[in-house]
């Protein structure tokens, strides 16, 4: 808690509707964000119960510097992932971190299952569980409108409220259902939406109206101005504002690291038609920011959809970025920006994770073509490059219309375990791949990373640097970066800002808020948090050596050529030994 020597935790049991608050001085050693979320998650975790059991916790937490410095905008959610069966960790921006701060809570721990379909209303000194039976089954857009109308507080400005909600996919237990936050941001990956659905929890509204005094105003203001300038007038963040992350498409395509058509190839012959520039010229209508960020990296794209005969049109607008274009465009061989927006919109309305959805549909298309499944399973003729069938398939997936879609809704690994085709189910440890086939860094990084994400340890960046590949150096670099990101995710800054917030800047920022931290302290905090995450994964039965990588990762050339399976196994083994040693070491 800014200006205090404790972390304020709000505990909510949905079943008993009992609510209590604790002031936890002992959590200060974890700084905030993913640090306190990991500790609280471990404390409340029931490793012997199934992932979706009502007793399993969902934890939300904000960081030690949330909102008071530029680009420190994220909230972390921790849960058991129904997709991987182990650590679920996801981040979202928008207004949520600011409103939790203004409501006066550093973390929220939710347990139990509501007796009826409900939503949570969290405000300063007022928390209640409310009836959501009327909105159960509604799409994401509809439920957003409903909650916005109902959750109005006296004297409220809309900017001080944040709403997160699930769609039908979360209600139906799709293992990669996401949670939408304030329309354009998401807790996308690993199935938080299904966890909320299992708790009969359709939405959470957070409203805060506190004000926070800054104790050392002079020091704070000087630093804030420097950071603001760095965020807006230097090159550090320019590309995120300009065409945004879709700028990744051309370098990855040129370099041969762009997974295309279920990663049959590593480049897309029509990449130029779906790159950032193309979206900007054809579909971009505005740019937005999360609260507390001056960058404006959220790109909103629009297209005109004919919804009936007789010149009946509506404007569809969604936020787009690289991963969405990769998963719902390039991975499915689609080269039309309007079609990609239509697919993103479909995924949004049902409340699915775009990456897992696209990658699962890529597997299904390949499996259909190879005869592992038939049209009777898919109900539509899935073909790379044909968006209409994918639109229908997304609805089928979210609703679980038959046994095939129910299986696919548990992820590509699960579906392949039933129908075959595991060698081209492009997942790593159960989590569908992100849009980087750059080399050993990205593949091993995802295999050993805490949540099997490219963002755990930035392995894809290692692959793109100009240094020669060295197995041991890569393993060390992945481990070091994983610890480092545990520390930065305790603030919780947007990862786009990692070049703005170097170590000294982080120390200066935190010390301006009353902390007295050193460089060594930050290293220790990162290691301490990573150790807890490894303990959680171990408690949930995860073993790094048990990760099986599908064959296609070794058949399709990466940006750095064909990857050798033996080298990958060796790197995972070395990383595993390193973490075992780390877990048994004293300190941290």
């Amino acid at each position: 808690m800014i200006n205090e020597k404790y972390i304020k935790v709000l505990y909510i049991n949905l079943e008993t509707e009992k609510i209590h608050i604790e002031h936890r001085e002992d959590l200060m050693q974890y700084l905030g964000g993913v640090g306190i979320a990991s500790k609280l998650f471990l404390e409340n975790l029931k490793p012997d119960l199934p992932p979706m059991d009502a007793e399993q916790p969902i934890v939300f937490a904000i960081g030690a510097a949330t909102y008071v410095f530029p680009v420190i905008t994220k909230t972390v959610a921790m849960f058991i992932s129904p997709l991987t069966g182990e650590l679920g960790e996801s981040y979202a921006g928008a207004r949520l971190a600011m409103t939790l701060l203004m409501a006066g809570y550093d973390a929220v721990v939710i347990t139990g299952k509501a007796k009826k379909q409900s939503y949570l209303s969290i405000a300063t000194n007022n928390v209640s569980v409310k009836d959501a039976r009327a909105i159960w089954g509604l799409s994401v857009t509809e439920v957003g409108q409903y909650i916005r109308d109902r959750e109005r507080h006296k004297g409220q400005a809309d900017g001080k409220r944040s709403i997160l909600y699930i769609g039908p996919a979360g209600e139906n237990g799709v293992s990669f259902a996401g949670v939408t936050v304030d329309t354009y941001r998401h807790f996308g990956r690993l199935g938080l939406g299904a966890c909320m659905g299992a708790k009969n929890l359709k939405a959470i509204s957070v409203y805060g109206n506190r004000s926070i005094p800054i104790l050392n105003h002079k020091k704070y203001l000087k630093l804030y101005q420097q950071l603001y300038k760095k965020s807006t007038v230097t090159e550090y963040m320019a590309k995120y504002h300009d065409s945004g992350t879709p700028e990744n498409i051309m370098p990855l395509n040129k370099g041969g690291g762009l997974p295309t058509r279920n990663m049959r190839t590593n480049s897309f012959e029509e990449a130029g038609r779906v790159c950032g520039e193309s979206f900007a010229l054809k579909n971009l209508v505005r740019k937005m920011s999360c609260t507390g960020c001056p960058v404006g990296c959220i790109h909103i794209g629009m297209y005109r959809r004919e919804f009936d005969k007789g010149h009946e049109y509506e404007a569809i607008s969604v936020s787009y970025d690289y991963e969405l274009i990769f998963a719902l465009g390039i991975f499915l061989g689609i080269s039309n920006t309007d079609s990609i927006i239509a697919l993103i919109n479909e995924v949004e309305e049902y409340g699915l994770d775009a990456i897992s959805t696209g990658v699962c549909l890529g597997w299904a298309t390949d499996a259909l073509e190879k005869g592992y499944i038939t049209d009777e399973d898919t109900l539509v003729n899935l073909q790379f490059g044909k968006p209409e069938a994918y639109i229908t398939a997304i609805g089928n997936l979210a609703k679980g219309v038959n046994a095939f879609y129910q299986a696919l809704g548990k992820g590509s690994r699960h579906a392949a375990s039933i129908y075959g085709g595991g060698e081209f189910a492009m997942q790593i440890a159960g989590n569908e791949m992100a849009g980087y086939h750059t080399g050993y860094g990205s593949l091993v990084g995802a295999a050993v990373g805490a949540r099997h994400s490219h963002l755990d340890n930035g392995g894809y960046s290692l692959d793109q640097n100009n240094e020669a590949f060295d197995e041991d150096k890569y393993v060390d670099a992945l481990f070091t970066e994983e610890c480092e990101r545990c520390m930065t995710n305790s603030l919780i800054m947007c990862l786009f800002a990692r070049k703005i917030y170097d170590r000294q800047t982080i120390i200066d920022s935190l010390n301006a808020l009353g902390w007295t931290l050193t460089d060594e302290d930050l290293t220790a905090i990162g290691r301490r948090i990573y150790k807890i995450k490894l303990e959680i994964k171990k408690a949930l039965g995860f073993r790094q050596m048990g990760v099986k990588i599908p064959k296609r990762f070794f058949e399709t050339p990466s940006m750095n050529g064909i990857l050798d399976e033996d080298v990958v196994k060796s790197m995972i083994r070395k990383y595993s030994e390193k973490t075992e040693e780390f877990l048994t070491s004293e300190g941290d």
Binding site: M250, P251, K254, Y322, Y436, L455, Q464, A468, G561
Partner: protein, 85 residues
């Protein structure tokens, strides 16, 4: 040899997207040449691994580091690294 620039790299090349230069001995000397032609920032940023460098379509990581040998007709492409967050 041909050197091509993409995306935001063009901010460091006064908007140029392609230049032809005489064959140079290695990648490091090419970067020196580009720094001389454009700005010192170019050298600093490239060598700090901010950019992806392809030689005839291959990432430099496959062939080594800045002392990668270059030939007369090589096509060098310099792009921003793919990153997200």
């Amino acid at each position: 040899m041909i050197v091509m620039f993409y995306g935001e790299v063009k901010k460091f090349t006064n908007g140029d997207n392609l230049i032809k230069v005489d064959a140079l001995y290695d990648l490091n000397s090419l970067i020196d040449k580009l720094s001389e032609l454009y700005s010192k920032d170019f050298h600093k940023i490239v060598t700090e691994n901010e950019w992806l460098i392809l030689i005839n379509g291959e990432a430099t990581t496959t062939t080594g580091a800045m002392n990668t040998r270059l030939k007369e007709h090589d096509k060098i492409e310099i792009l921003p690294m793919a990153e997200t967050g």
